[in-house]
Subunit: 442 residues, 2 copies
């Protein structure tokens, strides 16, 4: 077992109705819904919508709950009781896959103010099937396959959300792609095409080019003619990001990326996407050409370990980029801040962006890259993978329980293997969704 | 005479070759060039290009020179001797009209660091006819009618500039339009369409909507579908700016423009163009919707009188807008600084913008509005008109000497009239250019 197996345990939380269990898997058989609504959504949804199940069959669902701020073990798997009911304007979604984002990692450490205090269920995005609709919902129906974007709370088997937080998935899009798309692609799109005003022949710096936003941004850059993409990532990921469209991969661990970029593009860049914060924001600003745009959208530099690092926080804060009107004028530059988490009132704006993204998806110009999938029990390892920057693409969480077939005879050996290397992501032998990408070994 | 008649005097300056005269007009007859090259540009230019005039005919030209920092009287009319010769890549332009800009007013007070120390000739733009070309100039020829954009030095009868600082004027564009276009329209275009990324259905705040950039911005907004323009100006100018395309004129002198805008557009604005600086920059930032863009491009608030106002400077400086990365992220906003004077190395970028502007001009979508024209002798009054915000549109300077026909018999009366009201701009009875706009009374 990895050191972070605690999330697989279930744990009490005061203010949420829940059933506390110990080490026993929730009975999947007790659920009235099919596990593969994608195959027959209408039928399964109809079954799901059947009201008043016999009293002995209490509806339960798996939910990840942040029990307090801290390390990976603070996210616990719980089983909650009682089916949530959508109110006016809301829908109930059976979740098939969830996305993991940097904001979730920050939230776990208590560094993301859009996540309410624990106990709380994290998760800003998921994909699934609508199982029930509340009153006044006219544009969604039971059986619709949807992507969902929400401020938090998506890491559950079922969720209730406002209907205008859901987006219809096109035919043929897998739930994993649906869960991987919203946060990363909306973020990349709005940064590049709204603030960035990206046009042909321009140049863009994409930090963490193998991350979710990095890959989305790289793909979106190539929706425009002759855009040059500079991408930072550790050397082991260069082949992958080059294949993904990065023109100049830069190993930020062994080289000074500023020097490398200046060598290739002495005049600088048109757009810098900055997810790092701290002194890297200033470096990005300095790298801009006249009329260049710096778009800062994170502070990944404060995430240096699994628990809050006061020194990293202080350093990032101390080096935080600040600028006045006169300096901006003399430089002829633009500085923009973006965080999707603070746009949660802007349904219409976000819907327009999703419509454009789905158009690009339909044209084959964008395609989420899934790094690995992890069951809810493995959420700690999933977070570790992202936090230690071992992923290439999106890290996906699956609500369905991990299957444990080989456990009986090879129990002991498994334990030993897990001591050696961290728990592996599921290789996805399941049939219901083709996996876009094999998980990478660390 | 107005109190600021001193510019009509000529004055010594050490480091520029010049002929010092007193009160006598330069002999226009002595110049070999025709005064109307637009009518027969090739012929007049050929004459101009004739080298080595007889020694007794010394070439002289009128030039406005800033003799020191201070009030309107610091800009003196001088007559310089000896024809400038274009070197490699340069052209000699016979100037027919010059634009007056806010930067020139700041420069006079010593507040514009792109203008070298006095004595120096101000002026960032003009229009005229090429009279000679230097070596290696292949895309300009004698007789070409051009607009010129330069860091300074354009307020002269003849100027030598790099050929790539000139832009061919389309057929039918007057020299006054040509002199009114570059600074204001390039500024407005780059702010709205590069930093601002203006799109249909958006809303824009244009301060000083009756000024040069204000009118240009208003026209350019209407090159995009269904853009709402909020424009500030004193009440007397509201009719003019409404006709020019301002949807909601706001009298900033009697109303709080923030309140007025919030009443009409409670969610705020997509773009704010800020030429004011000081606390108005923060107000503009607060008025933005999520994804909104503030573009700051001046500090008109520091210009409160004809001489440097230390209190206004201190106040503007103290209230100068400053922002850090985190606040930008939480707000999902963009802050941009623009100043054309600091873009003088970017010929290619600027040329592309001028090409687009000339396309819009050809389509009738933009048309410079000339407020008034003033001869070089009247530069003090021209500056006063702009600085006191009495203009509606562009203030233009004409190098040609002011005609004084009625002087002889009505000499005495004229003097009396001038005491009553400030010197009037020339009503333009000349034939060679039709005047787009009658000068407005103050």
């Amino acid at each position: 077992m990895s050191g972070e197996d605690a999330p697989a345990q279930q744990q009490k939380a005061e203010d949420q109705k829940q059933e506390t269990k110990t080490s026993e898997e929730p009975k999947a058989e007790s659920k009235p819904e099919s596990k593969s609504p994608a195959d027959a959504p209408a039928a399964s949804a109809a079954a799901a919508a059947a009201e008043n199940p016999p009293q002995e069959e209490v509806f339960t669902y798996r939910s990840l709950v942040l029990s307090g701020h801290g390390g990976y073990d603070k996210v616990k798997l719980q089983v909650k009781k009682g089916k949530p009911t959508p109110k006016n304007g809301e829908v109930l979604v059976r979740v098939m896959a969830c996305g993991l984002n940097f904001a979730d990692l920050l939230g776990r450490q208590g560094l993301y103010d859009r996540l309410p205090s624990p106990p709380v269920t994290p998760g800003m995005e998921c994909a699934g099937v609508i199982e029930a609709v509340g009153e006044e919902v006219t544009d969604r129906k039971v059986g619709d396959r949807v992507m969902v974007l929400n401020r938090f709370g998506m890491w559950q088997e079922v969720v209730v959300v406002l209907a205008n937080h859901t987006f219809l998935m096109p035919e043929g899009m897998s739930f994993q792609d649906g869960a991987a798309l919203p946060v990363n692609y909306i973020t990349a799109y709005m940064m590049l095409f709204d603030f960035g005003n990206l046009r042909p022949n321009q140049s863009v710096l994409v930090h963490m080019a193998a991350g979710g936003v990095g890959i989305a941004a790289t793909q979106l850059c190539h929706a425009v003619q002759d855009v040059t993409v500079f991408g930072t990532a550790s050397a082991s990921k260069h082949e992958a990001i080059s294949e993904g469209g990065v023109t100049h991969p830069i190993d930020y661990r062994t080289r000074d990326y500023v020097d490398e970029i200046r060598k290739i593009s002495p005049k600088g860049l048109d757009i810098v996407l900055d997810p790092l914060g701290g002194s890297d924001t200033q470096k990005g600003f300095n790298l801009l050409k006249p009329m260049g745009k710096l778009i800062t959208y994170g502070a990944a530099n404060i995430l240096t370990g699994q628990r809050k690092n006061i020194l990293a926080l202080a350093k990032t804060w101390y080096n935080q980029f600040s600028i006045n009107a006169l300096s901006l004028m003399h430089a002829n530059k633009s500085v923009c801040g973006f965080h999707l988490g603070y746009l949660d009132g802007e349904f219409e704006l976000v819907s327009q962006v999703v419509a454009k993204l789905l158009e690009l998806y339909g044209q084959g110009k964008i395609k989420p890259k899934v790094d690995s999938t992890w069951h809810f029990e493995q959420v700690g390892d999933a977070m570790r993978r992202m936090q230690e920057r071992n992923n290439i693409g999106k890290v996906i969480l699956l609500p369905e329980p991990k299957k444990e077939e080989p456990k009986k005879e090879e129990d002991k050996k498994e334990e030993d293997k897990k001591e050696e290397k961290k728990e592996e992501p599921e290789k996805e032998e399941t049939k219901k969704e083709e996996k876009p990408e094999e998980p990478k070994e660390e």
